[in-house]
């Protein structure tokens, strides 16, 4: 077991973990932060996307021990005061989610993009090449991120 100290959504954690434990499993099953989802376990679908030190990261391709000392943000951290962010609200208004399983990863990936400035539609679509949604056909997601970018 390896000692791990990190911050998740602003809260400090100290845990003993197996070196092979994935960050996605650590978040979901060790910390109980089940808002992060695992869709493919091989880095394609993007459902597991979280922020590690501010960067969108596949938590299913990251070992928990790799984030020792890091600041991790998950979907649960987006709404600490209970109110939806402009991005989440835009997803709601545009019908950018149906089953919602890909949504936390979509939100975290989009939040990362929005943090870098105001993206064009092309940049949004390009970013979404790494996030698979099987329900919406993507158009409402693109529109939602565009709206959030404009706000």
């Amino acid at each position: 077991m390896t000692h791990l100290e990190l911050t998740v959504n602003g809260r400090r954690y100290r845990e003993e973990v197996e070196p092979r434990l994935l960050l996605s499993d650590f978040l979901r099953h060790t910390l109980g932060l089940t808002g992060t989802h695992v869709g493919c376990e091989h880095g394609v679908c993007g459902a597991c996307t979280v922020h590690v030190d501010g960067l969108a990261t596949r938590s299913c391709l990251t070992l928990a021990v790799q984030v020792d000392g890091a600041e991790v943000e998950t979907v649960e951290g987006l709404t600490r005061d209970g109110a939806l962010t402009a991005l989440q609200q835009a997803f709601h208004e545009h019908g950018a989610l149906q089953c919602g399983f890909c949504t936390p990863g979509m939100l975290m990936a989009a939040a990362d993009l929005l943090a870098r400035g105001r993206p064009t539609r092309e940049e949004i679509v390009d970013m979404l090449s790494g996030q698979i949604c099987r329900c919406t056909g993507y158009e409402p997601i693109v529109r939602a991120i565009e709206q959030a970018a404009a706000s």
């Binding site: 997803f91 089953c99 399983f101 099987r134 056909g137 158009e139």
Partner: protein
């Protein structure tokens, strides 16, 4: 006491783009997925799967797995034999002589596809279970495999089930009219042969199951990522020999299904059997690559279609023949899936003769079953491609040939033998052509051709009709389906001003909570937020037939309407009593009863019914009503889809420039949700046309066994969608609804491939097999040059 219902008026909540009630928890990460759940004493299951498509299993030794420190138990198929009271269910054997070989949760003598379960390990963690599964020693004697359904019918082909002596599962026929005579008289005959590529549904939430036993009472609670908790309870009680009343099945939040979770799987039975044997909770979560082997696939058919027509292009008869892969075993509705298209090979066209034949065939592959559209995308593809071929043969515009053949009278008893409820096919086509700017597109296409632009423009139509809203129980019985097609609703008006709606359908992303709230709010005069919709738990809603085949609204939603009628009928008796008048003197409009002098709200009646201090004689306390609705007909959405594509003749790349969809899904309850369903369906249909294909090698290895090699499209691969609607309410139900879950996936493959072939028509290309990858397009062009 029984009271006569009064017809309810539809108001403003029905038809409004109400934002979804489901969204908030999904947006903040608080949804309840099966994989989130933990219960005390829970152990984890892993399945040992065959790496061979066809092999004799000569030895299974679980002892090395049992030696693992964290392992609780490990079993071969033989060890678990006595857990099973029956095979895994197949609810649809379409003919009397359909061959349904035994299908137990683990394979004992032979493995019949890569991924077939042969042993199972239980451990204290998922990782330990998966580690220990690799320790199980299985000896195989590999045998030749067969993966193509036509090749599997050939003399001498390796047999999937030796005892059957054949790979043919069944042949089902439908003949109507003087087909042969009509073909003899035909001035023109066109033939098409098409491949329906095998598809992997890929719901983004992998499957998972958790079973918690209560050994003292013989009770089991199963949480499963299922579309069909009620069907799972009925059938699994039979597989396990657990009394149905002792089994509770819960589908919590479910992350997409598209048919793949319309099934009852070996892992559910295993988790139940192990929970019973070990007396502790058992959990299993599928890995994605595991799921690509162990969760059903869709399509995998060869189709032949012939049209008989006169020189103008008027079609008189259709003959279709399908060879459909079943895979290695029959899952819940495997044999019936191609037959859901059996009535639709003449599409939206008026013909006199109709003949359809389907042969189901076992192959050494993952079983096929329902995938979005299930039989209807296949039928639509065949007829829409064939109509384009007819137009090409006659040198006519595909629009003209379609108009010449459209069904125009409704209800319409089609030659194939069912009755289309309503429609206006010209209106949809007019709208699609207008939105597209069809004439201008044809002009641009000609200009590009004239100047030798290597990027050809193609325009493709798909003017489809489909049948959904599954289904009238009598018809299901007649086609040998084992269950009914009804569904249920219960409305419970609580004394404090809110309402519980219980529905027997089981959503997994479609937004039923919002849609059902709109209907109940509208009919009963509540706010949408005052309605709470409960579903997907057999202890809360004991009766239901669940969600598939675009049935939820057309059956379950209509049940809700009739339950509301019963609420209003009972409340009117109490209202009249309160107002001191006869019930016939009381009018009801949206939540308020009005007598000659005074009025009273339904909400106040709910309180009065609960206190029961002053009810009319013979009226029971409480304000609750249920209805079980069995639809008198299928519902028949239709529409016109138009794809505009650009085909690069130098690279073979296809880009969908525009996609126009005009759909008639009957009355629309929530346009936001309906548009979402259409978007998603089109995306999956475009994916079938251009991107997705499950590929096996000759030895039965799945070459597209993960999301790297199986191309589920992402945003840059897909166009924006231009949506419009026509609305011919279904006359068979009081809401006028039809169903929308599958229309996009049904219509779009044909529209896209028609467009690709249209783009390359002048180059001599007449057909391209799906998916039309750059390589396939390029090869087709090269072949046409020869």
């Amino acid at each position: 006491m029984m009271v006569a219902p009064i017809e309810l008026e539809i108001g403003e909540a029905i038809g409004a783009p109400v934002e979804r009630k489901e969204d908030h928890k999904l947006l903040v990460g608080q949804a309840q997925w099966v994989d989130n759940m933990r219960v005390p004493g829970m152990a984890y299951m892993a399945v040992v799967r065959s790496p061979y498509a066809h092999a004799r299993i000569t030895r299974v030794d679980v002892a090395p797995a049992l030696a693992h420190a964290d392992v609780v138990a490990a079993y071969s198929a033989a060890d678990l034999q006595e857990e099973w009271a029956g095979s895994l269910p197949c609810a649809w054997l379409p003919t009397e002589d359909t061959k349904a070989p035994p299908h137990l949760p683990l394979a004992a003598d032979k493995a019949r596809y890569v991924g077939d379960g042969v042993a199972v390990v239980v451990a204290s963690s998922r990782a330990a279970a998966e580690d220990a599964a690799e320790l199980v020693e299985v000896e195989y004697e590999p045998l030749p495999a067969i993966v193509d359904p036509e090749a599997a019918l050939a003399e001498g082909a390796p047999l999937v089930h030796d005892e059957l002596g054949t790979n043919r599962c069944y042949t089902w026929r439908l003949d109507a009219g003087e087909v042969d005579a009509l073909f003899d008289e035909a001035e023109v005959i066109v033939r098409g042969r098409f491949r329906q590529n095998r598809l992997i549904p890929t719901a983004i939430e992998p499957r998972a199951v958790l079973v918690q036993p209560l050994p003292a009472n013989g009770e089991f609670t199963m949480w499963s990522t299922t579309q069909v908790p009620h069907i799972a309870r009925v059938t699994l009680s039979g597989v396990l020999g657990i009394p149905e009343a002792k089994l509770r099945v819960i589908a919590p939040d479910v992350g997409g299904g598209f048919g793949s979770k319309l099934n009852v799987y070996a892992e559910e039975a295993l988790a139940l059997g192990l929970a019973r044997r070990l007396g502790r909770a058992i959990k299993w979560t599928e890995g994605r690559s595991e799921g690509y082997l162990a969760t059903i696939h869709g399509r995998d058919q060869w189709q032949e279609i012939e049209l008989a027509a006169n020189a103008d292009g008027k079609i008189s008869a259709v003959r279709a023949r399908v060879v459909a892969a079943m895979g290695a075993y029959l899952q819940l509705v495997t044999p019936g899936i191609p037959l859901l298209g059996a009535w639709l090979y003449a599409g939206a066209y008026d013909v006199q003769g109709y003949s359809f034949e389907c042969t189901g065939v076992f192959t050494h592959t993952t079983p096929t079953d329902a995938y979005r559209g299930a039989g209807r995308p296949e039928a639509t593809y065949a007829i829409e491609r064939a109509v384009d071929a007819l137009a090409a043969k006659l040198g006519k515009d595909p629009v003209e040939v379609r108009r010449l053949n459209f069904i125009r009278e409704f209800p319409n008893a089609i030659a194939a033998g069912l009755t289309i409820d309503s429609g206006d096919y010209d209106a949809g086509l007019d709208l699609a052509l207008g939105t597209a700017g069809y004439k201008e597109l044809r002009t641009e296409q000609a200009e590009r051709r004239a100047k030798g632009d290597p990027k050809r423009l193609g325009i493709g139509l798909s003017t489809y009709v489909e049948m959904c809203g599954l289904a009238p129980s009598k018809i299901l019985g007649a086609i040998r389906y084992s269950a009914g097609g009804w569904d249920t609703a219960t409305i419970r008006c609580l004394p404090t001003g809110t309402v519980q709606v219980l529905t027997g359908v089981s959503p997994h992303g479609q937004g039923h909570e919002t849609t059902w709230s709109q209907i109940a709010a509208d009919l009963l005069g509540y706010d949408v937020d005052e309605i709470e919709v409960l579903h997907g738990d057999t202890a809360v809603v004991p009766l239901g037939m669940d969600t598939y085949g675009s049935r939820s609204l057309a059956v379950g939603g209509v049940a809700l309407y009739f339950a509301a009628e019963r609420i209003v009928a009972k409340a009117r008796l109490i209202a009249a009593h309160k107002l001191g008048v006869e019930p016939s003197q009381v009018d009801y409009v949206r939540g308020r009863f009005t007598g000659p002098e005074d009025s009273i709200a339904l909400k106040d009646i709910a309180l009065a019914a609960w206190t029961a201090h002053d009810l009319p004689d013979g009226v029971e306390p409480g304000l609750e009503a249920s209805f079980v609705y069995d639809p008198p007909n299928f519902s028949w959405p239709s529409g016109a889809h138009l794809a505009v594509v650009e085909v690069d003749t130098e690279t073979g790349n296809v880009e969908v420039l525009r996609y126009i969809a005009v759909d008639d899904v009957g009355t629309v309850v929530n346009p936001l949700i309906v548009d979402g369903q259409i978007h998603g369906g089109i995306a999956q249909g475009i994916a079938q046309a251009l991107f997705e294909e499950a590929v096996y090698d000759d030895d039965g290895n799945l070459l597209t066994g993960n999301m790297v090699s199986y191309l589920v499209p992402s945003a840059p691969d897909l166009p924006s969608y231009e949506l419009d609607r026509t609305e011919t309410p279904s006359p068979t139900n009081p809401l006028g609804v039809k169903g929308v879950g599958e229309t996009g996936a049904i219509a779009s493959p044909a529209a896209v491939i028609n467009a690709v072939c249209d783009a390359l028509a002048a180059d001599g290309v007449t057909d391209i097999q799906m998916p039309a990858t750059p390589e396939r397009v390029w090869r087709a062009l090269e072949e046409a040059k020869r």
